[in-house]
């Protein structure tokens, strides 16, 4: 009877009252256990998880430092005069007025037939031939400019590639030397310059010279050859510009020298091939789809707790077409691999059955003690965390449009582009909404990830240094934005991945 009344009273308790009472009781709940042992385990785990993945960034960091050092030292060494152009100015003894004649190197194509050096007086008598020739000892040779074409740019492709036979400019490593010729010789040179259709530039570099600074060696030879003569002075004069005689052949040489408006700079379209490689890091943003209008935060937390980006690498080849104005378009093929890690838990179940003479009871609905058994099975479940690598493999076609500012040694520019993802494959395990793990590969990746990725947008900054006439070394930080999720449309979690990349490589200019 009393029980029935109490039951009735209990049933009539408002939910609020009973809830509050229950919570008050529960708030005081605590359980004694070996805190020291558990703290020790947590302490170990905290220490283990704190290990940073610095080694992933160490390698690209060291590479960048090495690259920067190399470029720095390369710049220091580049102060030596290296190049293929020169202007020779002749000094008339009487008037003491300098007449100009340019002896400049042309590019490599012209370079081959005209490995000429300034020659002695005999060679200068050949009016339409080169003004440069080997001396009597055979160290130099007269080589006519066979590829002369007044309307063709015969300058070096690179304005910086200047060769100075004898440089009067300050800071030059080559001392100014007076090379004396008699007046006839000088005149004959001037006459030669007055001939139409004859370039006033000719190559003086010797590509067969094995010296590390061949032009300097030539200069020394010239100095030796002409040291005892008194009318020829070799001076550097605007080696970066190219002069043509062309239609203005009738102009006096002196005027020609001074009127730089007759000179023009022409740069052809350039074709380049580029090889590059680099590292990338994923910026991951996850969101959940709605279940009954509410986000599935549990799955989101589960995913984010277990899965984290590690980084990746990529490499590729591309062809570049560069306009004279500095605009360029590039396209190629690229292989890219991105890695993530997932921490999965392996559960170990240990069951120990203990016989206990004491009987175990429970209480039924009527408050009666019910015998449950005389043994106890203790189950100990421990979990072991295992880290697994997930791999996204992509085959891309990057297409870039950009603009380059080119200075003497440096090329600085920026690109905007699209990256077409030709192929996308995923390998690894994925966490499913119920907390289980599923092995995925190319065959079943659609269960979680997309089977193809469409395209991304890219933006980069290009910083390059010319290490030779044809080769440019560059670094290129890049950001790639992918607006679509990488996970399947019907998956409960939406994952978007953006990439921050650092690339470096070489460009070869044809």
């Amino acid at each position: 009877m009393k029980n029935g009344q109490n039951l009735k009273i209990t049933m009539e308790m408002s939910n609020k009252y009973t809830n509050e009472r229950l919570q008050k009781i529960i708030q005081a709940e605590s359980m004694n256990f070996d805190q020291d042992a558990l703290w020790s385990a947590i302490d170990d785990q905290l220490g283990k998880r704190r290990k940073p993945l610095m080694w992933l960034w160490l390698i690209p960091g060291l590479l960048l430092v090495a690259l920067a050092s190399w470029m720095w030292t390369g710049q220091s060494n580049s102060n030596q005069p290296v190049g293929q152009e020169a202007t020779v100015l002749f000094l008339d003894e009487k008037s003491n007025e300098k007449e100009s004649a340019s002896i400049a190197a042309v590019n490599d194509e012209i370079d081959k037939p005209s490995k000429a050096l300034i020659a002695n007086e005999e060679s200068l008598e050949k009016p339409t031939e080169s003004i440069i020739k080997k001396n009597a000892k055979g160290k130099s040779s007269i080589t006519p400019n066979k590829k002369t074409n007044p309307n063709q740019n015969i300058s070096s492709k690179k304005p910086d590639a200047s060769t100075v036979i004898n440089n009067t400019s300050s800071g030059s490593n080559i001392p100014t030397t007076l090379l004396n010729l008699n007046n006839n010789s000088a005149n004959s040179i001037n006459t030669e310059f007055a001939q139409p259709q004859t370039p006033i530039l000719s190559n003086i570099s010797d590509t067969k010279n094995t010296s590390t600074t061949p032009e300097l060696a030539h200069s020394n030879t010239l100095n030796a050859d002409f040291n005892n003569k008194k009318s020829l002075d070799l001076l550097m004069a605007k080696p970066s510009l190219v002069a043509y005689q062309g239609d203005e052949a009738e102009l006096p040489v002196a005027n020609f020298k001074k009127d730089w408006s007759l000179c023009e700079i022409r740069e052809p379209w350039s074709f380049l091939i580029e090889a590059y490689g680099g590292f990338s890091y994923q910026l991951v943003s996850n969101s959940t789809t709605l279940i009954n209008g509410e986000p599935n935060t549990d799955y989101l937390n589960l995913w984010e707790d277990a899965q984290s980006p590690v980084g990746g690498y990529q490499g590729g080849l591309q062809f570049v077409v560069q306009s004279p104005g500095g605009f360029e378009i590039a396209a190629g093929a690229e292989f890219q691999r991105l890695a993530e890690k997932v921490e999965s838990e392996r559960t170990i179940i240990e069951r120990i059955r203990i016989f206990d003479p004491m009987a175990y009871f429970t209480i039924d609905e009527n408050g009666n003690r019910i015998f449950m058994g005389d043994t106890v099975t203790q189950t100990r479940i421990t979990t072991e965390t295992r880290t697994t690598e997930l791999r996204h493999t992509l085959l891309n076609i990057p297409i870039r449009l950009g603009y380059m500012l080119k200075t003497e040694n440096w090329n600085v520019g920026a690109h905007l582009g699209v990256v077409l993802h030709l192929d996308y494959g995923f390998e690894g395990i994925a966490i499913m909404p119920n907390g289980s793990y599923m092995e995925l590969n190319n065959d079943n990746q659609e269960l979680v990830y997309q089977s193809s990725l469409g395209l991304s947008y890219s933006a980069d900054i290009h910083l390059g240094r010319n290490i030779s006439d044809h080769v440019e070394l560059f670094i290129r930080p890049e950001f790639r934005y992918h607006h679509e999720p990488w996970t399947s449309d019907n998956h409960l979690l939406s994952t978007k991945i953006q990439l921050v990349q650092a690339q470096g490589g070489l460009r070869y200019r044809f």
């Binding site: 709940e29 359980m31 279940i291 119920n434």
Partner: protein, 179 residues
């Protein structure tokens, strides 16, 4: 160390503060974990993982008040315990647990009654009841955690509440603890 100092220290990953937090609240969280798992070893694992998560995300705690802190930590522990139960189900490990082997509870008789009454509930009802009444989760959150519809959670709670209070009342009468 005040609660504010402990929380700030934990945000700054100060090991001393983390230790203080653990020693201050682990017994309470252990009891929470045990309510779900009904296994001491499992409860320890749950508490361990819960504390790792607590340290990792304590910077998300907006109010540095003790009540809020405890409630938040218990929610994390409950969630972790449910994950454990889910995994145990997936491995089809059935566990027979004896009340006698459990850790000594500081529980007074009231607590013992609550625990007994909870144990008498079917597991599904028990989880819904604990998550809603004790931990304070909404039905939508419970639905997401247990992968059931919120309406199912609501109906299970009604039944669970009825069963629980009935048993609780009986136990109190049985042991003469009715206040």
């Amino acid at each position: 160390m005040t609660v504010e100092q402990i929380i700030t220290g934990c945000i700054n990953k100060n090991r001393g503060a983390q230790k203080e937090l653990f020693y201050s609240y682990s017994k309470s969280l252990m009891a929470t974990a045990f309510r779900y798992t009904r296994d001491e070893f499992a409860a320890k694992d749950v508490v361990q993982e819960s504390f790792i998560k607590i340290y990792k995300s304590i910077n998300q705690l907006k109010t540095h008040h003790e009540g809020t802190l405890i409630s938040w930590m218990k929610k994390i522990t409950a969630r972790q315990a449910l994950r454990y139960l889910e995994q145990r189900k997936s491995f089809q490990a059935r566990q027979t647990t004896s009340r006698s082997h459990t850790v000594e509870s500081t529980a007074n008789m009231q607590m013992a009654d609550v625990m007994k009454a909870l144990e008498m509930l079917p597991e599904g009802y028990r989880n819904v009841f604990q998550l809603n009444v004790i931990e304070g989760y909404s039905h939508k959150e419970i639905g997401a955690m247990l992968q059931i519809e919120p309406s199912t959670s609501r109906s299970q709670l009604t039944r669970a509440r009825s069963m629980f209070y009935e048993k609780w009342s009986e136990l109190e009468n049985y042991y003469g603890n009715v206040k």
